[in-house]
C-alpha cells in the first residue's frame, strides 16, 4: 500500500510492543500489523472484545502510548508521518489536527478547574486567543452540543455536572479546537442508555455537518454499524476483518466476526457486550505463532496454528483467515458452523 495523498489518517503495518520492566524477555506485542485508512469526513468503527487493542491503536495515532512502548510502521496524518513528528509539530497536530473524546469524562477532565477553564485552555494557551473571546466561543459551542445556560455551566466545576453533561463538555472542547479528525474511545460506555444515543447523535451530526473524520471505538457492533461507514473488527492486537458497515451482516467472512454477529440475542435487541464466543479474549502477546483466534475457532486446522494469516481481499473486504474458501464454499452451512 503506498501513501494515499487523499487520506486523512493512514496507518500502515503498525506494530506496537511494550517492554516489561520486570521481565527480561522480549517486549510483548500489543498491536501487530494494523493497516487502515480514513478519508476526510468518513467514520470508521473499531470493534472487538476488551483488550483487543482498540484504544492502543488510537493512542498510537496521537502518540499517547506508555513510555516503554516501541512503534514500527507508519502513521500518516494528511501525508505527514506522526511517529517522526518533532515536539512543536506534534503539539500543533494534537492541537488542530486531531481531537480525542475519552470514555470516562469524569476522569479525563481536571476536577479542580472550572468548566470554562477546561474549554478555553487550549485556545488561550495554544493559539493566543483572548480569554473573553475564548469564553464567548466556548459558550456558543456548549449551545451546539445541547447544554442550556452556558454562562452558568462555564463557572461550574466538573463535579457539579452529570456524566452525560460532562461528555458533552468533552465533545465541545474537541469542537472548539476545530480538528479535522476525531478519535472517540467508547464515548458512551460510561453513560446512561438514554444519554448514549443523544451523545452519539451529536457526534454523528457534527461529523456530517463539518466533514470531520472520525474513528469510533465501541464494544457495541450494532452501534458501530449505525454510526460508521466502515468497520474494523479487532482481535488480539490485529484487524481480522475490515469492510463496509452496510455489508457486514450479509457478507461477514471471518469466523470471529461471524461469532460476534451470532452472539447477539437478536437483530433488534442491541447486544450489551461482545463476549458470547466460547473461550476468553486474548491479548496479542498471548497468541501462538499462528492465527490468534485458532484455539477458539470451530474451523481451525494445522495451518492456523503454525502460520499467521495475511489479510486477503474477500467479498470486497480485508480478512485475515486461511480458510475463507473452505468456510464460505457452502455459505449457509458455514454461517451456522462459525456461530457454534
Amino acid at each position: 500500500m503506498s501513501a494515499d495523498t487523499r487520506a486523512l489518517l493512514e496507518i500502515e503495518n503498525l506494530t506496537v510492543r511494550l517492554a516489561d520492566p520486570a521481565a527480561d524477555d522480549a517486549p510483548k506485542p500489543l498491536l501487530e500489523g494494523i493497516s487502515l485508512s480514513l478519508a476526510p469526513g468518513e467514520a470508521l468503527g473499531l470493534v472487538g472484545e476488551s483488550g483487543s487493542g482498540k484504544s492502543m491503536t488510537i493512542r498510537a495515532a496521537t502518540r499517547l502510548l506508555p513510555p516503554r512502548a516501541s512503534v514500527e510502521g507508519a502513521i500518516r496524518f494528511e501525508g505527514t508521518d506522526v511517529t517522526r513528528m518533532s515536539g512543536p509539530a506534534l503539539r500543533a497536530y494534537r492541537d488542530t489536527g486531531v481531537g480525542m473524546v475519552f470514555q470516562d469524562p469524569r476522569a479525563h477532565i481536571n476536577p479542580t478547574r472550572r468548566i470554562g477553564a477546561f474549554l478555553t485552555e487550549a485556545l488561550v494557551r495554544n493559539r493566543g486567543v483572548g480569554r473573553r473571546e475564548a469564553t464567548a466561543r466556548a459558550a456558543a459551542v456548549l449551545g451546539e452540543v445541547g447544554i442550556d445556560d452556558p454562562a452558568r455551566r462555564l463557572r461550574q466545576y466538573p463535579h457539579e455536572l452529570s456524566g452525560g453533561m460532562l461528555q458533552r463538555v468533552m465533545i465541545a472542547s474537541v469542537l472548539l479546537a476545530e480538528p479535522r479528525l476525531i478519535l472517540a474511545d467508547e464515548p458512551t460506555t460510561a453513560l446512561d442508555v438514554t444519554i448514549q444515543s443523544e451523545v452519539v447523535g451529536i457526534l454523528d451530526r457534527l461529523r456530517r455537518d463539518r466533514g470531520i473524520g472520525m474513528v469510533f471505538i465501541t464494544h457495541d457492533l450494532d452501534l458501530a454499524l449505525a454510526v460508521c461507514g466502515r468497520v474494523a473488527v479487532m482481535y488480539a492486537g490485529r484487524i481480522v476483518e475490515l469492510r463496509d458497515a452496510k455489508d457486514l451482516h450479509e457478507r461477514a467472512a471471518h469466523p470471529y466476526t461471524l461469532g460476534l454477529l451470532g452472539s447477539r440475542p437478536s437483530i433488534d435487541v442491541r447486544s450489551a457486550r461482545l463476549t458470547a464466543i466460547p473461550g476468553r479474549p486474548r491479548g496479542a502477546f498471548e497468541s501462538g505463532p499462528g492465527c490468534a483466534f485458532a484455539d477458539r475457532c470451530a474451523h481451525a486446522q494445522d495451518v492456523c496454528r503454525t502460520t499467521p494469516p495475511e489479510p486477503v481481499r474477500f467479498r470486497d473486504g480485508d480478512v485475515r483467515c486461511h480458510l475463507l474458501d473452505q468456510i464460505h464454499s457452502v455459505p449457509t452451512a458455514a454461517r451456522e458452523g462459525g456461530a457454534a
Binding site: 503539539r91 494534537r94 476522569a107 477532565i109 487550549a122 495554544n126
Partner: protein, 316 residues
Amino acid sequence: MTRMVISRLGGLATTLLLASVAIFGSLYLAPGSPEDVLFGTRQPSPAARAAVEHQLHLDQPLPVRYWDWLTGVLHGNLGTSMVTQQSVASRVGSGLGTTATLVLIAVLFVVVFGIALGAVAALRPGAVDAAAGAVTSVTVTIPPFVASTVLITVFAVRLGWFPSSGIGTGFGGRIHGLILPACALAIMNCGFLARVTRNALLDQLGREHVQTAVARGLPRAIVLRDHVLRNALPPISTAAALLTSGMFASTLIVETAFGVPGIGQLTITSVAQKDFPVVQAVSLLLVAAFVVCNALSDLLQALIDPRLRSTSGRMA
C-alpha cells in the same frame, strides 16, 4: 469559604481550651513542685514553706487554680514566672520572634528543596530519580539532634563560617546565626517532603486528566503547572503543614544545641525549673502553632479542590 474559616477558628479555640486543661493538670500532678526549686538545698521551716505556697497559690485546689489562670489569660494576663518574677508575657515574647524566624527559614528550606528534589525525581525517571531517591533516603534518617551536632562540628567549629552558640545582633546577624539551626531542622523534613512530592506528582502524571491535557497539545510547562503540580498540591501542603508543626516541637532540641534564645530553649529551662506559668504558656503556643498549621493546609486544599468546599466544619 467564610463558614469554613469561622468553623476552623472555633476549632482552634476549643483545641486550645482542652489542651490547656490537659497541660495544666499534667503539670501540677507530675512529681516535683516549684517551691522545691525555689528552696533549692535549703530546708525551710513548715511555716516558710506554707507562706511561699500561699504566695504562689499552690495551697488552693487544682480547679480553683485553673480557673484563676484561665480568667487571667482571658484578661490578657498570662501570669508571672515563679522563678524570675518577670511577667510570662515578656519572657515568652522576647523569644517568640526568634523562634518564628527560625521556623520560617527552615520551612522555606524544606519547601524549596523538598519540592525541587521531589519534582526532579518525578520528572526524570531512571538515573536522576535513583540519585534523588538515594539522597532522600539518607536525609530522612538524620533527625535534628544529629544534624545539629554534625553542622556545629563542621560549619561552626572547623570552618568557622557560623557562630557555634547564640545568634548575632541586628537583622543580618540574627539571620546569619539562624541559618545553621534552620538547616538542622530542615534536613530530615526536606527528605520527607521530597518523597511526598515525588509520589504526588507521579500519581497525577498517571492520571487521565493529564493525558487529556497532553492530547490537546498544551505546552509541557503548562501541563505540569496547571494540571500536575496544581492537583498534587493537597497532599504536599498537608505534609508541609505536619512537618512545620513538627519543626516547632524540634526547636526544643535545636535551640538548646545552638544556644538560640527562643521559645524552645525557654521551654527546656522552664521545665527544668518547674516554672509552671511559663511552661503552660509555651506549651499552649506549640499547640496553637500545630492547629494553625493544619488549618492553613486545610484552607489551601479547599482553595485548590472545589469538591472540599461544600463540606464545612471538617476537623483536622
